[in-house]
Each structure stands twice: as structure tokens, then as C-alpha cells.
Symmetry: C2
Subunit: 562 residues, 2 copies
């Protein structure tokens, strides 16, 4: 393939350089130019939290290849044969002439550059909420390497920090600050953390566990203004209180940079990001768009979504380059919204639809919440995982999966993402030949087991209520009985303190069955949901008519315990 | 469901108890009896290496539930309502009368027990090679809890150990001994370690890395006899040398226990294990068989295979119980032979077909070997993974995947196993929406990247040779040139010392292209295969006609380096 094609790429962070590098490998003769407004290019934006926390020691490490070479203009020129114009911005696209107008940011000098194919990879910009004091010193975003550099420089003097927004970026920022032993409060407008990533049931458990490790959350709090003294931030005022802060990180989401595309008359989608087809062409077939500035198609709902993720940027770069060099044949079909994060010693992840999303789309939803160990309990490094599956009751298809826990969550999310991609039913998921050895999993992996819980519920075998429903019943004063089937030794230190709670060890149920009133609604409870399911079946076998167990057990209980 | 069904289960280790427990949950009225010849039941056989190594401290922990209750006869009776007769063996099955003949192992007393459904879960027995000295003191198997108990008891006095057999059990035994700082030599008849699990290319790299950590291997060595002194083992004599040993573990595979089934006239498959249909019924539809005594169907080849794995035993127990209680509707469709292990700080895994297996089945095979990092290189805990994909060139379907490395291997094996289950092509694999965050993966995950290497090879873009082919060319005296494109700093300490090796840093290739002879076969080499692929494309772009790169780079090089 030898085209001498002129390829101009606007944006030099992730999707742009990836497109350029792949195009170069496909076509040694192509004339490839990346134009980047900034001075930084091809950096590891996702590495910023690790730089702030100190585990990435040098700022320069965020700009290096895995073999230690700086990914600068020189690198792109010498290793890739790609021109990079940093400090230059494209101010206009002349689609008729197939030229871009380039302005040197420093000198203001203008020039024109012609293209056969143009790639828009202009990325996104953090949203700045219009509140008073947002421009005070000590208030940062967390999206650009300079942000990380500036934050790390001032960290030593910081005692208390507030992070506004509990999305992925906000949580990563909060974690980095906690790692530096800074007291952190995260303020979130919604009633839960990670509102885009996790369903509330899991988010509430995660928040509780992170609070136990010193992170603070203010959920459902609206930031009204930032307070300052002598131009420097001193606090955050919400609709409910005033929080002291030497440092504030604002992370309330990003907006796609679409001005240039809009000005050029390219179609902007309903999400506000650039619309592209499955070949990643914009409404002008000679112009491609990739990365954080485009919208994606959700593989399950079919809907357009704006989910700016580094993995999509990189994979789209490859697809766009293929199509530019070989003609539009390579497809980027869509996304499942898979996302994972680490917060202190807990992991969290999701793929596919959330429970409410699925209901809103009209699915006849059934879910399961499973508290389980990620590997054999006798293996010294086992950890807890709470995994949730969202399933379509009619087709039995898996629609989504989520997980949290100190244990290995991400593998199960990847397995679910893979299965969902192929339209797997919950029965398919339960039958997967997943890898087992004691350091890695259990003979029936927790992903299998979660699928089996859904199957048991679908078959009418397992009858469950959620921790939320149980709590509501308690608070409402319902006349029912919770039978905690853990041992007395487990019950004593931590249990729900209510006269409607009765302790009967699982192994004693058959002997003590007469003590349990047959006419009452019985709700079995244990630590993880395994013994209480067993108890449900024993009670039913003994003729009890209204028996359930609490899904996920006390590990899923996000409320205070006595 | 209330049947009062009489279910008799022969075997109380894994598949048997699982069948019993599931049957009980399905049917509270069933009369369920497990008959076990041994005194131990429902134990964690896979935990034995951890008990020997000391990370499982108490022997009793191998017999406990995750909530600390001993899984003994009492437990099965009180928690599950299941009768367990330990110390009793079934000596005969009267299929006409639907009765089993039970003999008390201690007293010899005989009784008869009738069944509606019988479940054969008789497991497997380690194969004992017919060599002199096999009965000496200090010679152990590693399949029964007593083996682990006995080995741990004598460990303090052991200096040197020999493990015969480098399959999963042998390698796990060797690892446990190494963890106790015992000098271990593994003797293997085949020319590679883990011959059933790994292809030779990966096995050779793994063996080299384990040898660097003090494990020794004797490959292609045949054990002739064991030497002893005063009835106690002192050494192992192979066809090539004599090895001192205070302790010998024999792990040369297991055989299914089929005598009882055979005697009852049930069909034994060509693999030597009990034949079952997809409902896990034997040739007598009232008799089910599960676990290590049955053969399975390979999901890709369709062939019958004998792969005794704990995960199959457990998942089969569930299926058999479903079918016993609800009629034969639930299917166990087959297996991919997924297997993983940890050996010192390296992980290893496989799923699906190996390269040779695929060729033997007539597939038009293409493979890729990828040396990659499991997570972002700037994340402090990143690790190397060598991943191999085996793909059908015609259909582009993934047939198998293997991986080794100190990095996270198992997640990628599980993703591949899931994808293969649905007939994924290599293009599907590359497009999966897998989870990305720096502590877990890279924006383009190594599973994606490995798939992309196959795609680049299929498209004629990447031209590769294996490390084995490169070594053969060197040894054969071929007139060709290896261009090592790493930096001089990387080249100096470790490289292939040969006049046919030339160092040209990747970034200098464009400048120094005249120094490289155009008429010679050029083989680019780097650490992992990324830069050498780039180099291949640069040379080709400059008009070189015969250029390749070495797949996996020096990380895949299993030979000595200078």
C-alpha cells in the first residue's frame, strides 16, 4: 500500500497518535501530520492519579514508552515518521478545498495545510460548574498533566481536601489524596457515589467501606460556592454545610470538544458529541473523528451514548487508520460501557446496562446480588466480591454485570463483557469453562454462582429480598421475622438489633423448627447469602409458606449494625 | 417438588457431595445417601499444595466450609439432611433390582441399599508406574489428603526432593516444596514441562524462568528405578543420571475409577472413563456419573477427552442433581480444557486447543505469540505476560489460547475461554469492550493486542518468525541478518552474540538504512516484539523485500543469552 496520502490529525493525546501510528504501519508513504494546541502529546492521562499519589515518581514517566523513550515530537519523527506540530491549533476546516487553517498559538502566525483525510481527535474539556470562587487558587481540575503536576507540587501543605464529583475521575483523585494521608471529603450531587458506573445498592456498600478507611462522602449535597481568603481557597459551601479545604478538585464530568466540527458543519449527535458511522466517518466521509469528541453506540440498547474512555480512543484510532488507508471496511461496532476502578483496597467495575437503565429500556428485569469469595477460602489471599447481574427475564439474556470488593472484580467484569458481547444467556454464563485453581478462583467461580442465583430465582427455587427491602420492612414496622442462621459466635459481635430478629444456626434449624412461627413471613439472613438460601429451602421443605432470604447477606448491608 | 426419591451417591469427595447438596435444595423430601469408602469426605483436594507449603496452616482447614464449619457426616446430616456412610464401599450394583451392595470396610459387614437413581462419583486414582523401589518409604503420591499430611510431617528432614511428572499435580507439588526451600528436581519423560497444558514454546520459557528461581528440570528423562537404603528412598535413577532424593513425589497422571461401573455393565468410553450423555446419564438412564470418573466432550474438537478437573466435578454435580429431580433436561455440553496454575511467581494457563492439537485436527492454523505487560507500564505492579493464540486461518475463529508470566494471565484465559465458547473470531476478540484502568490493564488489553497480531499476520502486514525458527537459522549457519532494534543500553548487557546480529536502535533506522544490506534476509528483534514489528514496516517501506520480526522478542527466547 503506497498512497502518498496526506493525513492530517487534529489532537495529539491518545486517539490522534494511535491513528497516526497505525496509518504509518499500514502505509509507509503516507504524509502524516498531527496538530496539537498544547505542548504535551501522547501522554498517559490515566496515570495522573498515580503521579499525585507518588507511585509514578517522575512527571516525565507519564510521557514515556514502556521501553523508556520520551514520546515527544522527536520520537514521532524518528521512530514513526510522523510530523507533530505542537503549540498549533486548527481554527477552521475548509471542507471544499480540503484544507485546515492552522494558527501558531504563540506567534499567531497562520498557515494552511491540505489533507486527503482529516481526523478529528480533539478530545474533551472538563466541565466547570458556574459557582462563585471556582477560579480561586487551590482549585484544580484533574484532566490535564499540568493539573497533576500542580496538585503534587502543593500537596505537602494540604491538610484537608474536597473533591467535587464522585465519578471515575473524582474517585481516582480522592484515592490519590487519601494515599497521601490527606483528609478527603467527596461532595456528590446525586444520592450515591459513582452514579454513572454503579447501581445504588453496590455504590452504598462501597461508600460505607471507603468511609471505614477514612474517605468521607456528602451525597445529595449541592455545592453553592467556594470560599477563599486572599485569593486562595479555604472551603466549600454546600446547601447543607460548610467544609474546610486547602485544596479543591473539581471533577463533575467532561464535555466533548466539538466547536471545530460544528463550525465545519459536521453533524453533532444528540449526546452533544460528534456523530460518526461505524467506520468512524463523520457526516463528511473524508473526515474521521475518534476518541473523547465522538459519541458511541451502546451494543445492547442501540442508543447513542457519550462515554469518553481511553480504551475506545485507542481502539478507534486503529479502526480509523485502517479505513483511511484501505477504504471504509473496518468497523467500530459499539460499546458496552465497561468501566473499572480501584479505590483504596476496593475494586469496582461494570459492563452493559445497569438495573434502572434496563428497566427504562423496557426489559423485564431480574437481578441477583452475590457476596462471594474470589478464590478458595483456604487460600491466604482470598477476597470478597459483591457481584450483581442484570438479566432479561424473558430471553434470559445477560444485560449487565457489576462488581465491587477487595477481591478480584475485574476478571469477572471482563468475562461478563465478553459473554454479553455474544448475547449470552444466564445459562451460558453458568456453563462457561472458566479457569480454576485455588490462587485464582473457586471450583464454581463466583461468576458462575451469580448466574446460578439468577437461574434459581427464575426457576422459583430461590426467593429473595434485597437488603433495601429488608431495611424498609424493618423501618416500616412490618410484622415478620428475620432468622439469622449464622453461628452464635458470628451473631454476637455484629447483627441487626431488632426484636424481629431471631438467631437459629443453620445446622440447628431442623431441630428447632417448632420454635419458628409458621404463619409469619420468614426472612433468612446470613453473612453472604449461601446459608440463608439453604435455610429458605429447609423452611419450605418443612411446610413454611412465606420464606425468603436476603440476597448478598450482611456483606451487602449498607446500614449500621450493632 | 416432593418425590421421596431414593438417591444413592457413590463417592464423597467433590462431585458426589455437590450432587447431593443440589438435589436436597431441589427436593426437600428426597432420601439422599452418600457412600464413601474413605474416612475423609468433601475435602479441598486442590488445597493440598498450600497445606504442604504451610499457607494453609491446619489440616482441618481443608475440610471446612468458608464459614469455618467442618464438612463431616454431622454437617451433611444437620445442615443438608444428607446421610453419609464413610468407611463403606459399594462392591456391586444390581441394576435389575436397583440396589447397591454395600460393604463396611472395617467390619466386612454387607448390606443392600435400593435406589431410584444412582450417582457414580468414584473419582480417580493416581497411576503408579511399574518401577523398582516405588514402595520405598519417602515415596509419595499427591492426590489424597493423607499424602499431604504425610509429606508435611517429614518435610523438616528433607534436603532434596524429586518430583516425577511435570503435569499440574507434579508442578504444584514442586512449587510447594520450593516454597519450603527444598531443592527440587522435576523429572519429565516428555521434552517439555506441563505437556498436556502448554505448547512447547511457552513451556520452555516457563521452565527457564523457574530454573532461574532454583527449580530444576530433567526433560526427556525416563525414570528407571528408585534407590533406597534401609527401606527408605535415597535417589532416583533415570536413563541419563542418578539424582539424590530424601523425598520423591510420583505424579504421572491419574486413572478414572471405573471398575464398579464396568462390573455393572455400564459403557466405558474410548478414553477409559465412564461414558455419559449430555445429561450425565450412563448407558443406564437411571444411573448418572459425574466427576473424575467420566469422560467429557471437547467443545471444539467434538472428541471425547479425559480431563479430570475439580470445576467439572462441581458443575456436573449440579447438572446431575437437576436431571435426577426434574427429569433429564439440564445439559453439561462439554469442556474447553481450561486449566491454570501458579508456579512460584509465574502463572500459566490454557483454554481450547493447543497448536499441535489444532493441526492434528486438520485446521489451517495460524498463531501469534505476544510478550506484553498486563497493565500500564507506569503502574508499579505491572507484570509480563506471554500470550499465545491459536486461530483457524480459514474461519478466523479462535481455537485456543495460552499464557504464562508473572503478570495477570488468568483473566485473559477466562476472556478467551468465554469468547471461544461463542465461536469468536480473532476480530471479535479484538473488538471486545474489556475493562481498562491502569491498575488492571492497558487501553488496548494484551488480549486485544494478541488478536491484533494474528490479524496483522493474516492481512500480510506483520511477517514473523518464531524464536525457535530464528535459533535454527542461527545454528544452521543461514546467511541472514538479525537487526536488534533496542537501544545500545539495552543491547549491551543481554543479546544474541553472533556476527550476524547488528544493533540499530529503532529511532535510528531511517538515518542508518544504508548500512543495512538490502539483498539479505532481515530479521528484526527487540525485547517484546513491538519495536521489531515497527522496524519490519520501516524496512519494507524503504524497499527491503525479505523482512520479518521475531515474535515475542527476547522475552520469548528460551535459550542462553550473552
Amino acid at each position: 500500500m503506497s498512497s502518498n496520502k496526506k493525513i492530517v490529525i487534529i489532537g495529539g493525546v491518545a486517539a490522534g497518535p494511535k491513528t497516526a501510528a497505525r496509518a504509518r504501519r499500514l502505509d509507509p508513504s503516507a504524509d502524516i501530520t498531527i496538530i496539537e494546541r498544547d505542548t504535551y502529546i501522547s501522554y498517559a492521562g490515566c496515570g495522573m492519579p498515580f503521579y499525585v499519589a507518588g507511585s509514578v515518581r517522575e512527571f516525565s514517566h507519564l510521557f514515556q514508552t514502556s521501553y523508556g523513550v520520551a514520546r515527544d515530537e522527536q520520537y514521532f519523527s524518528r521512530e514513526k515518521g510522523i510530523k507533530v506540530l505542537t503549540g498549533n491549533e486548527v481554527t477552521d476546516i475548509d471542507r471544499g478545498k480540503k484544507e485546515v487553517l492552522v494558527r501558531n498559538v504563540k506567534t499567531g502566525e497562520e498557515s494552511r495545510l491540505s489533507y486527503d483525510n482529516l481526523v478529528i481527535a480533539t478530545g474533551s474539556t472538563p466541565f466547570t460548574p458556574p459557582v462563585e470562587g471556582i477560579e480561586l487558587k487551590g482549585v484544580y481540575r484533574f484532566n490535564h498533566p499540568e493539573d497533576a503536576k500542580n496538585i503534587r507540587e502543593v500537596l505537602d501543605g494540604v491538610q484537608e481536601a474536597v473533591v467535587i464529583g464522585s465519578g471515575l475521575i473524582g474517585m481516582e483523585a480522592a484515592e490519590a489524596l487519601r494515599e497521601k494521608n490527606i483528609f478527603v471529603t467527596v461532595v456528590e450531587l446525586k444520592e450515591q457515589i459513582l452514579p454513572v458506573m454503579l447501581d445504588k445498592d453496590l455504590a452504598d456498600v462501597l461508600a460505607l467501606r471507603l468511609e471505614e478507611q477514612g474517605m468521607e462522602f456528602r451525597l445529595g449535597h449541592k455545592v453553592l460556592k467556594l470560599k477563599g481568603d486572599d485569593g486562595k481557597v479555604t472551603g466549600v459551601v454546600t446547601d447543607q454545610e460548610e467544609l474546610d479545604a486547602d485544596l479543591v478538585i473539581v471533577a463533575v464530568g467532561v464535555r466533548p470538544n466539538v466547536e471545530l466540527a460544528q463550525k465545519a458543519g459536521l453533524t453533532i449527535g444528540r449526546t452533544g458529541a460528534i456523530e460518526v458511522n461505524r467506520y468512524l466517518q463523520t457526516s463528511d466521509p473524508d473526515i474521521y473523528a475518534v476518541g473523547d469528541c465522538v459519541e458511541n453506540t451502546h451494543l445492547i440498547s442501540g442508543q447513542k451514548v457519550y462515554l469518553p474512555m481511553a480504551t475506545y480512543a485507542n481502539r478507534q484510532g486503529r479502526v480509523a487508520a485502517d479505513n483511511i488507508i484501505n477504504g471504509p471496511k473496518s468497523e467500530f461496532k459499539g460499546v458496552l460501557g465497561t468501566a473499572v476502578m480501584k479505590a483504596l483496597n476496593w475494586n469496582a467495575g461494570r459492563t452493559g446496562l445497569g438495573e434502572q437503565q434496563a428497566r427504562d429500556l423496557g426489559y423485564n428485569v431480574i437481578t441477583a446480588l452475590n457476596s462471594a469469595l474470589d478464590r478458595t477460602h483456604y487460600h491466604p489471599s482470598h477476597g470478597l466480591v459483591l457481584m450483581k447481574l442484570i438479566v432479561d427475564r424473558d430471553s434470559r439474556k445477560v444485560l449487565g454485570a457489576q462488581g465491587i470488593g477487595p477481591g478480584e472484580v475485574v476478571k469477572r467484569i471482563d468475562v461478563a463483557a465478553t459473554a454479553i458481547s455474544f448475547g449470552a444467556t444466564v445459562d451460558d454464563l453458568a456453563a462457561l469453562d472458566l479457569a480454576y485453581a485455588p490462587p485464582f478462583s473457586t471450583p464454581i467461580d463466583l461468576a458462575h454462582h451469580t448466574a446460578n442465583i439468577v437461574r434459581n430465582k427464575l426457576d422459583g427455587l430461590a426467593k429473595t429480598i434485597s437488603v433495601q427491602e429488608a431495611k424498609e420492612k424493618l423501618d416500616r414496622g412490618d410484622d415478620f421475622l428475620i432468622v439469622d442462621v449464622r453461628t452464635p459466635q458470628q451473631f454476637a459481635p455484629k447483627h441487626i438489633d431488632d426484636p424481629r430478629v431471631m438467631q437459629v444456626t443453620l445446622s440447628d434449624i431442623r431441630d428447632r423448627i417448632e420454635e419458628v412461627p409458621k404463619d409469619k413471613e420468614i426472612v433468612a439472613l446470613c453473612a453472604m447469602g449461601i446459608r440463608s438460601y439453604e435455610a429458605q429451602r429447609i423452611f419450605e421443605g418443612a411446610g413454611f409458606k412465606d420464606v425468603k432470604y436476603i440476597e448478598g447477606g450482611l456483606q451487602a448491608w449498607p446500614y449500621d449494625l450493632d
